[in-house]
């Protein structure tokens, strides 16, 4: 070590280093434990279910020990898609407002309500969704959509409130802070000189945003959206409370459905057979793999933007 005679390394240093390394490696151990345990619990399922069969069949029958996850995959994907469609434009507009249009000081204050949105526990969102959003959808939004857009299959059927649309809307609120905080961060990395150059050439503020800010941070914004998508796919409580928990696939967004995390939440504690628990853990594995890939991709994109392209750096 550089702080002593060569070879005479301090005993305290060695111990400290050792402890730090053990603690750091613990993160990898935790990751390993997650994969290992999910696989272990899911193993009884593998006996008479192929992976392909599991994700392409719709019949979910704990009594006969026959499990297909397609219904839940469908519900998860539809609700996540609705939430992304609703949240992304708002999140990007909001981030642009905070970083570009609002005065710097105001922008800093404006991040507080966004942080507050993120701090509200998901079960409270669920409660709010169940007693406020669902009746509102049932009584005003869904009848209105059905009346004017009823020719689209998405908006057909009786307005029951509970269902894909309600889940998607609440998910949109929940993933908004994730997308905003990450996109604000990547937008802030845009070199001020790029923006000023555009402004100096006569661009309006909005044109400068489109010419300098968006192209520079595009990959990072995509990363932010992926992080939001990961959160939407895995969100459990709020969705369980408002999706209706009905195992069916329907084209209408008004219909009740079911999602991967919701099944796990509802059935895990009461599952008695090993195969049933295994099937639920199988759903967990699908969730884990998807969110893992999404998050990994998102991190790569966001880090790339934060480091900045090498040609801009010089």
């Amino acid at each position: 070590m550089e702080n002593g005679r060569p070879g005479a390394e301090n005993l305290g240093d060695r111990a400290f280093n050792g402890i730090l390394w053990v603690l750091g490696i613990m993160i990898l151990v935790v990751a390993g434990l997650i994969v290992l345990n999910l696989a272990l619990v899911a193993r009884p399922l593998a006996k008479d279910h192929s992976i392909w069969g599991f994700i392409t069949q719709t019949r979910w029958d704990p009594v006969e020990d026959h499990f297909g996850a397609l219904t839940f995959l469908y519900g998860t994907l539809v609700t996540a898609a609705i939430s992304i469609a609703l949240a992304v434009p708002v999140a990007i507009g909001l981030s642009l407002f905070i970083t570009q249009f609002a005065p710097t000081k105001l922008g800093r204050v404006l991040t507080i309500p966004v942080e507050l949105l993120a701090a509200i526990p998901s079960v409270v969102y669920g409660l709010w969704g169940l007693f406020i959003v669902v009746p509102w959808l049932r009584e005003s939004i869904e009848p209105w959509l059905g009346k004017y857009f009823g020719w689209i299959p998405l908006f057909q059927g009786p307005p029951i409130g509970l269902g894909y649309l309600a889940s998607g809307m609440i998910l949109a609120v929940m993933i908004l802070p994730t997308i905003v905080s990450v996109s604000v961060e990547v937008m802030k990395t845009t070199p001020e000189t790029n923006r000023e150059a555009a402004l100096a050439l006569g661009a309006t503020k909005w044109e400068a945003v489109m010419m300098a800010v968006i192209p520079y941070s595009r990959a990072g914004i995509v990363g932010a959206v992926l992080l939001g998508l990961g959160r939407a796919l895995g969100e459990t409580m709020a969705v369980t409370m408002v999706i209706g928990n009905t195992p069916q696939i329907s084209a209408s967004l008004f219909a009740a459905g079911y999602s991967l995390p919701a099944v796990i939440a509802n059935e895990f504690a009461e599952a008695t057979s090993n195969v049933h628990v295994g099937a639920l853990a199988g759903l967990g594995l699908i969730l884990f793999a998807t969110t893992f890939l999404l998050n990994a991709g998102a991190r790569v994109l966001v880090t790339a933007v934060q480091k900045g392209p090498s040609r801009v750096r010089g």
């Binding site: 702080n3 305290g12 240093d13 111990a15 400290f16 280093n17 730090l20 390394w21 603690l23 750091g24 490696i25 613990m26 993160i27 990898l28 935790v30 434990l33 997650i34 345990n37 999910l38 272990l40 619990v41 708002v90 507009g93 642009l96 407002f97 905070i98 309500p113 966004v114 942080e115 507050l116 701090a119 509200i120 526990p121 998901s122 079960v123 409270v124 409660l127 709010w128 169940l130 007693f131 661009a203 309006t204 503020k205 909005w206 044109e207 945003v209 010419m211 895995g234 969100e235 459990t236 995390p261 895990f268 504690a269 853990a281 969110t291 893992f292 999404l294 998050n295 990994a296 998102a298």
Partner: protein, 284 residues
């Protein structure tokens, strides 16, 4: 974007888009205000001393409280802190001090990716780790799930806070002949300490609000419990059960319990903000 358009047109587009962005901002505000207002207005009516101190009563009987759930949440979060805080903070210090190599980068990447793993999945993991070997649901299993959720986010936050400490401080200490480990503990980490406490408070707030990983680890309990080996009630699971029940009285209890939960989470967040502000003042 049409740069050949007239200047007036471009000006109008510019103003228009600024307004659209501001409107989006207002749009994001509505749910926040709605949630806060409804939880406060619907929850405040049920607040009473009994609500905090009594056990829940069966359906049909008036009164009763969520005392056991409140104690259960505090107990499980405390247990989770015992496991999660040292591991999370420790991993963060590792990342800041030794995290520049390949292994460090891998650990950092893992921590980032793990912080996005759905909490329900972590619940299954805790089930396999604790419930299966023990043979029954327990507060310990819930605490393990919460601690697994705490570790990755806490590690990343701690790393950033430790890295904020100026290198000159470390060098000054080393130049005085203080060994590396003492410099790290007594100079670097101590300087970052108030920030780390903030990160811990936020991790605790997040853990207190988790529901999904508790459903099949800690399960629920109708009675008081402070035994880590027994199933335990929690505030969040109580809210869930009350909310999906068909009884109006229980719905009212769900709102009141939500108010209590929001107050707990809010206080932790405010405390962390106050600490951060003091830290910034101290640095100046």
């Amino acid at each position: 974007m049409n740069l050949h358009a007239s200047f007036t047109y471009r000006k109008v587009v510019d103003r228009g888009m600024a307004v659209v962005c501001a409107v989006f901002f207002a749009l994001a505000f509505i749910p926040l205000l709605s949630v806060l207002w409804l939880v406060i207005s619907k929850g405040a009516a049920g607040l009473s001393w009994a609500f905090f101190t009594q056990l829940p009563k069966p359906v049909g009987e008036v009164g009763g409280g969520i005392g056991n759930a409140l104690v259960g949440t505090l107990f499980m979060v405390a247990l989770a802190c015992l496991i999660g805080l040292p591991l999370g903070v420790g991993a963060g210090v590792f990342l800041a001090e030794k995290g520049d190599g390949t292994i460090g980068n891998t650990v950092r990447f893992m921590a980032e990716v793990l912080s996005g793993v759905p909490s329900i999945v972590v619940g299954i993991v805790a089930y396999a780790l604790v419930v299966v070997p023990m043979g029954h649901f327990s507060a310990l299993a819930g605490a393990v799930a919460l601690s697994i959720l705490m570790i990755p986010t806490l590690a990343r936050a701690t790393e950033e806070l430790v890295r904020l400490v100026p290198g000159s401080l470390r060098e000054a200490s080393l130049a005085l002949g203080v060994p590396h480990w003492k410099t790290s503990l007594r100079v670097v980490i101590r300087t970052a300490m108030s920030g780390i406490v903030t990160a811990c408070l936020l991790a605790v707030a997040r853990a207190a609000g988790e529901t999904a990983p508790l459903l099949f680890t800690a399960l629920n309990n109708q009675y008081w419990n402070t035994d880590p080996r027994a199933p335990t009630a929690s505030l969040t699971v109580a809210i869930f059960n009350y909310a999906i029940s068909p009884y109006d009285d229980w719905h009212a209890k769900a709102w009141t319990a939500s108010l209590v939960l929001l107050i707990v989470v809010g206080l932790l967040n405010i405390a962390s903000r106050v600490l951060t502000r003091n830290r910034l003042k101290g640095a100046r």
